[in-house]
Amino acid sequence: MEGPSPVSALIHAATMVTAGVYLVVRAHLLFEISGVALTVVLVVGLVTLLYGALAALGQDDLKRVLAYSTISQLGYMFVAAGMRLYGAAILMLVAHAFYKALLFLTAGNVMHGLDGELDMKKMGGVRRSMPITAVLFTIGALALAGVPPLAGFFAKDHIVNFADQTGRTAVYLLALAGAFISALYAGRAAFLVFFGTPRSDLRGHEAPPIMNTPLAVLAFGAATGGLLGLSTENGTLQEFLEPVTGPLAHITGGLSEPVLISIAAVVAIAGVVLAGYVWGTGYDWMVLRQRLGVQPAMEAGFGIDALFGAVNEIAGKGAARFLAFTVDRRWIDGVVNGVGAGARSLAGLGRRIQTGFVRTYALALFMGAAGILLYLGWRF
């Protein structure tokens, strides 16, 4: 997130963070043997997706929105893996790589155009100075929001619907809520940055074609990536992976597929529309945040960072300091130096006898001789 935009794009979208999902899918046999491990994966994924979505909604820094959004999207992938829906997890991984890389790089365009500014409070109306970037970002944001027929819709749709079809109603509802929040923050970012009126005197400039051309490729992927897996069971990608991942769990019921798809589409579109209403049409978003009163917690990522920092600072460094300066220096080395000091003071006692004065030695000699004589006299 603090890295340069291409690095963020690579780390957050395509490679590093999604390695965890890849590993779960790769090692799915181990997870399945365990019995409980997949449930853990599912629950962790669910918590992660809601946590990331809410935290993303609370950020004012454009790249932080995207970073927390990545956490949330990874949650979806874990939920999918936890339900043994490995094909959809990988589909989401691929789709996410397209639109999140696109979003990070367009965010880089914005940052570059606005002299390094990332605070969305100071943006607004950037589409006038950066029209191409605006279009590209909007495609990415809509894909992220899960608006049909972009890539994010299909990927997320399979996961959310499958929860209902296998009787996991609570998972379904929470994942659906997460999808709504995703649409909300994705729309919020797009509207705050590119739409409305400028809120500061920053005037951007469009990025050169050499930067926008690769983004167009990513935008194409973000728009059409869903074609890789149109259907939950027999999409191209899922069939490709089936020899490795095995057949899908049996669908036991739930609502019919068209109904589920419609609900997912409505939720995504509703989220974007609401975002447009709140942040795009001149509504004072500062007021909303004050009314809700939850912004600080969301912006701070619910204090997880601070908690880790505090644990590290207090427990970690405290323990290290105790070991280094009390245990090591005082106790262990104290014993070592104590042995040395003991030998020294013992030698000090012995040294007292060696005064260097002849009279002392003469006295000792005399006492000794007297002692021996007395002993001999007593003995015989």
């Binding site: 280094a324 090591d328 262990i332 070592v336």
Partner: protein, 523 residues
């Protein structure tokens, strides 16, 4: 060709010149030091060339009666364990001499001490006679005492005396144990002897074996150092001049670990088994404790010193896992640690020569001022952490694997030490090399030609041994396999002395023999 004797005593050739010529210019003293150490390195390559990789026993042996009345023989020989200790020593010596180019007081005496030190270290690794080993082992102390005490930092006298007394205390026990062994050796076919090869067949009572093991162990544990006998190390490392730190970390600590394998394991197999768990626990404590304490150090030399405590914990843990992977990994890790920690001390010395501070708080941003030095530092730091592709990874991997086979708990704890290693080393790198440059350090120059000549060979070997560990393992494995086999399957001559382990070890024997070689494991 008597390659071993030639290598051991070649360094001494320079000493008379250095001591006799009172008015020798400093340039000449340095030149003699460099010339002789380079020559010793080249000669030691002859040992490598004549070494047969598949032979687990002692090779190129020489044996001459020295003092008949004492039954002291000059017996030397090399095997898979000592081979690379010798090469590591002769490899690091010229680099240590080069790193001491800026020493400008009593250069003559400094170089003479270095050369005597080299002979003593080489003799320790190659002796097959216990008394001869003891003489060389003790002979290490004097030059090192001088190097720390005369050319060290502010608290050099305290550090030198502490180093000397601490090691001497251990040596006293060692000498008593050696003499006791000698007193019992009359029953052996060749009569009383100090020869390790004969003493290995000595029948000892279980109690005697265990007490002797402890005496040997304490002497070597001080050197390694095994927790909690380590507190001389941070002081000695910190106060020693760069060359002293390099040789302390690179070679001297290995003398202790080498002694554990060579003498404790081969002379007292039953006691080795008996104490293995206890020693493994100390080793694991050393790994974690050393890492955590290193984490909070502000003096970068102290930090590297504590990192040695942790890394040597891996070595000891591997040795006492009694699996081929663990013991080979332990020996491999001795070499790896010798290279990477020597590299760390060399670079820290270069930084100190420029900035005159070792406090991390006073450093920062040096990567902007000296990018090449920072780049070399990064490679060495990554190697120390155990990044795959660099040398330490292979050794740590084998140690953890070998430990897992014998004890899962120790393996898990040791693996956590690797993570801690990454934390303290990367954090110290960040504090020293990244961020803003303090005003007073913004004018320093990058690496000189001499410094490139020091670092390039080290870094080259970090990469080579990271990618081709088999260069080392195929020579180490036969010997460690024999050592492990001896521990796990005691020779039939002494089964009566080993009632407690005879059932447990019998099952393990075919496995050890079948395990064959770790040379198949490579990244």
């Amino acid at each position: 060709m008597r390659w071993l004797s030639l290598t051991i005593f070649l360094p001494l050739v320079g000493v008379p010149f250095l001591l006799a010529a009172r008015d020798l210019p400093d340039r000449w003293s340095r030149g003699i030091g460099l010339l002789v150490t380079v020559a010793a390195f080249l000669v030691s390559l002859g040992i490598l060339a004549n070494f047969h990789a598949g032979d687990p026993g002692y090779q190129l042996t020489e044996s001459v009666t020295w003092v008949k009345a004492l039954h002291l023989r000059y017996s030397v020989g090399v095997d898979g364990i000592s081979l690379f200790m010798v090469l590591l020593t002769t490899f690091l010596m010229p680099l240590a001499v080069l790193a001491s180019w800026k020493v400008d007081s009593n250069v003559r005496l400094f170089m003479a001490s270095m050369l005597v030190l080299e002979t003593a270290m080489l003799g320790s690794f190659l002796s097959l006679d216990l008394l001869l080993f003891f003489l060389f082992f003790e002979a290490i102390l004097f030059p090192m005492y001088l190097i720390i005490g005369a050319w060290g930092g502010e608290r050099r006298i305290y550090a030198a005396v502490k180093f000397f007394l601490y090691t001497m205390a251990g040596s006293a026990l060692l000498l008593v144990a050696i003499l006791f062994l000698f007193s019992r050796s009359g029953s052996l076919p060749g009569g009383p002897t100090f020869d390790v090869r004969s003493l290995a067949h000595l029948e000892l009572s279980t109690t005697a074996g265990r007490w002797l093991f402890l005496a040997f162990f304490v002497a070597f544990a001080v050197k390694v150092p095994v927790f909690p006998l380590h507190t001389w190390l941070p002081d000695a490392h910190t106060e020693a001049p760069t060359a002293g730190s390099v040789l302390l970390a690179g070679v001297l600590l290995k003398v202790g670990a080498y002694g554990l394998i060579r003498f404790n394991l081969s002379l007292f197999p039953e006691a080795s088994h008996y104490f293995a768990d206890l020693i493994s626990i100390l080793a694991v404590i050393g790994i974690i404790y050393g890492s955590v304490v290193a984490l909070i150090q502000s003096d970068i030399k102290r930090l590297v010193a504590y990192s040695s405590v942790a890394h040597l914990g891996f070595v000891v843990l591997g040795i006492f896992a009694f699996t081929l992977q663990g013991t080979s990994g332990g020996v491999l890790q001795m070499i790896n640690h010798g290279l990477s920690t020597a590299g760390l001390f060399l670079i820290v010395g270069m930084v100190y020569e420029r900035t005159h501070t070792r406090e991390l708080g006073e450093l920062g941003g040096l990567a902007k001022v000296m990018p090449w030095l920072a780049g070399c530092f990064l490679v060495v730091v990554l190697a120390s952490i155990g990044l795959p592709g660099l040398n330490n990874f292979v050794g740590e991997f084998l140690v953890v694997l070998g430990t897992m086979i014998s004890n899962v708990g120790f393996g898990v704890l040791a693996a956590s030490g690797i993570v801690l290693g990454a934390i303290y080393l990367l954090w110290s790198y960040q504090r020293a090399m990244l961020g803003e440059v303090p005003e007073e350090h913004s004018g320093h120059g990058d690496l000189s030609v001499r410094e490139v000549a020091i670092l390039a060979p080290v870094i080259a070997l970090l990469v080579v041994f990271g990618l081709r560990p088999n260069l080392l393992l195929e020579r180490i494995d036969p010997t460690t396999n024999a050592v492990v086999h001896r521990i796990e399957c005691p020779p039939p001559a002494v089964p009566s002395a080993l009632p407690s382990v005879s059932t447990g070890s019998a099952e393990g024997c075919p496995e050890v023999a079948a395990a064959g070689s770790t040379a198949g494991v490579s990244p």
